[in-house]
Amino acid sequence: MKSIISGITLVIVLYAMNTKIGSIPPLGKFFDPNAGFWTNAETSLPESEELNIEGLIDEVSVVYDERRVPHIFAQNEHDLFLAQGYVTARERLYQMEIQTYDAAGRLSELIGENPRVQERDVTTRRWGMPWAAEKKVDVAMQDSASARILSAYSEGVNAYIQQLKPSEYPLEYKILDFSPEPWSPLKTSLLHMNMLRTLSGGSSDDRTSRTKAYFGQDYIDKFFNTDPEMLEAIIPKSKIWDFDAERPPKPDSNFKPKTAERIQYWEPNAGVGSNNWAVDGTKTASGHPILAGDPHLRLSLPSIWMEMQLHAPGYNTYGVTFQGGPGIFIGFNEHIAFSVTNTGSDVMDWYEIEFKDASKNEYWYDGSWIATKKRIEEIKIRGGETIIDTLVFSHHGPVMLANPDDTLAEPIYHAMRWIGHEAGNSLSTFIGLNKATNYDEYVEALKSYVAPAQNFVFASNEGDIAIWVNGQFPNKWDYQGQTVSDGRDPAYDWQGWIPHAHNPHIKNPASGFVSSANQESAHDSYPYYLADEYAPYERGRRINNLLRNMDNITPQDMMDMQMDNFSMHAESIMPNLLNWLELDSLSSEEQDFSSDMNNWNYEMNANLKQPGFFYYWWQELYRSIFRDEYEASGASLRYPDRDRVVEVLKDEPNFEFIDNITTDEKETMEQLVTAAYKKAYDTMATYYGSVGEPWNWGYVIDNDIDHVGQIPGLGANDVYSGGSSEAINATRFGYGPSWRMVVELGPEIKGWGVYPGGISGNPGSPNYNSFTYNWRTGEHFELNFYREKPDASLYQLTLNGDN
């Protein structure tokens, strides 16, 4: 009897320890030193080896340099991209795969019952992410060159997956208890959708509509339709537009949308931005152009990028790769260098839809009822019941209930028109750039690009520099799509595209430099309408101010400039804040610190106390000006950008929003600034104690680089650093430069670069987070750009075809 009880207990324990319970991995499997997580602890460098890889035509060598950067030497294009897929999967398989699950709305398949995850999956499906990924991959696969590359890449990933034993699965597979799926070009397309969501998936149409309804057109004009005077557009005033623009006519009707609430719009992603610039030979010490680029994203581990060199006949490109996509995204070859920043074009618009009845089979458009299209989405849930969701499409795109809580008697529906849904082949642009040898080939490569729109900066060995604001842009009437549009009226539709040759661009300007920092794409003289929402002027203006005054530029100067922490925002408002501050109302400690603020140089440096204080002071002031009016509306409204607010406050110290409408008193600027100062002091004292080292911006900046799958313990917390969203070094709160690159063109092209993280995606490897120190201190690595396969290496792989 006892033996039976004991035996049953044993079986239960074995079963329980082999099963994932909630978020707890199967304990026996997970802790097993021979196959569980312990086997992911790297105890020595990988060894050089020869491997048989199915599908290779010729031998491929992968040389890992002293920082473990892989350099792939292949003898043909097919083998090059097959090897890239293999090498990437070897380092980053989990990162590649989890992002495709996210983009496909399939996270619940891995995580199980979790309302937050389920909601994300449902939203992802409703926004047409998998639907558009399928459309895009169809187009890419029709282009034989792209199809060959995408297929070879998939083959390489699958060659790696096929030889993996469960004990060799990356750590996260063991934590979440799942197995890798075969890769396919569709997965690469899903990753592209993820990038589109991050970079072009924001919209404030609904919030602008309500803001217009509450505060009126004057308010919209004042804050959203007026450029700050300090703004310098990416394509400057000096550019002459040598074409005639044919624009669609603005409709006479002034459509007023119903006020819809609560739809889950993706907020414009404020953490995303970037810098890039190029200077020509007249401004450099060497007489050759120098190009610099640093894309800003939400930082993660494994790091977003991986350095790699691709070498084969027709190719010799070094730079960073996007995990799951073939080619180099930001980098250089023996002839040219290129980098991108995000373009703030309005490429997501919302249309109010009138359905005939609850079946949603027909909607009213241009005087008649038009049939909708439908698509069924099945959302599988691990250990739960599958959710079936029916998507409804108008000709604009997917239609969503804008008031899902049924707070209104009559449902309001919004259809989404988004560039992310547009079929196209943006991969060929990057492959083209990887191979381009001069300006014309760079422009040729840009032509096929759809989205997310980017500012592509360029420099070549021939001495050319250029920047193209590049993407497929809808040809709009002025301010089209600023607010929610009329889905019944064709005049509100996107009616054709801006011809590629008319996209804003400039080559070899007299100034000797080109630059971009997500600010307005082109000067007001540009004859098309692109958007009403861009990054504030500060970063772009700072870059231009520095470049204008620089001569005999060296690569080191450019690297230092990427680490520039100067805040033009602080420079523009601090003198006024100190003037408005009523010293008499402050305690003696608060007064003491105000002299520190007086002596500040506006550098957002890690070891200064003022930046953190300024951050809170401005935030409190901004809130105290707008919050009362905005909250009184009871709706979610669009807030103005800080650069325009600064300008208005300086010009109109009696701006009516300064009064706090919840009090009888009429507040003054002085009162608000002083109250905000005291609040900021209070906040700093509460979180960081009395004035001292803990007030340093390096701590206040709170840089947590999270794990890509949000698994605790696998990120890097509290990375001490300077920076700010308005500084060139845009590091803050876990966002910032995800790769800093400087390239000096010339007969001997040279590159420098650094990113937070490492080559390996394995949290148990010393190379998982090995570059972060250099990244935060601005010590770029000199990049090993080989002309031919080197003899020395850390270790190398020899890949042979399986024949």
């Binding site: 004991s6 312990w38 313990g713 148990g764």
Partner: protein
């Protein structure tokens, strides 16, 4: 003592090419054949695989300079990577102890009561 040693060696050999639950097999077999009392059977069984899994984990922890065990400790919220090593040993030990106990109880009929 001998019981722990043979279980350790058996579990080590099986665990190399069989899944983790194979560490229960030596306990069942040797627990039965050693014919010891329930409590010592459990303890020796526990001790054998506690040493094996704990020892293997400790070796990896040291060779990896604690990179991974520190992250796992943070993930599990247990404070120290050495606790992760300890948990590994205890989990293995529990399974083996229970298996050895089961093996020993299966022989009970042959024992005489005093």
């Amino acid at each position: 003592m001998m019981l722990a040693l043979v279980i350790l060696i058996g579990a080590f050999a099986l665990n190399i090419f069989l899944p983790w639950w194979s560490i229960a097999l030596p306990g069942l077999i040797f627990g039965y054949s050693f014919k010891q009392q329930a409590v010592p059977s459990f303890l020796w069984g526990f001790f054998g695989v506690f040493l094996l899994w704990g020892g293997q984990a400790l070796y990896v922890h040291i060779a990896n300079e604690g990179i991974l065990s520190t992250r796992i400790a943070e993930m599990l919220g247990v404070g120290s990577p050495l606790i992760v090593v300890l948990i590994t040993g205890v989990l293995g030990g529990l399974v083996s102890g229970l298996a050895t106990l089961t093996g020993s109880l299966a022989t009970k009929k042959k024992r005489t009561f005093r």
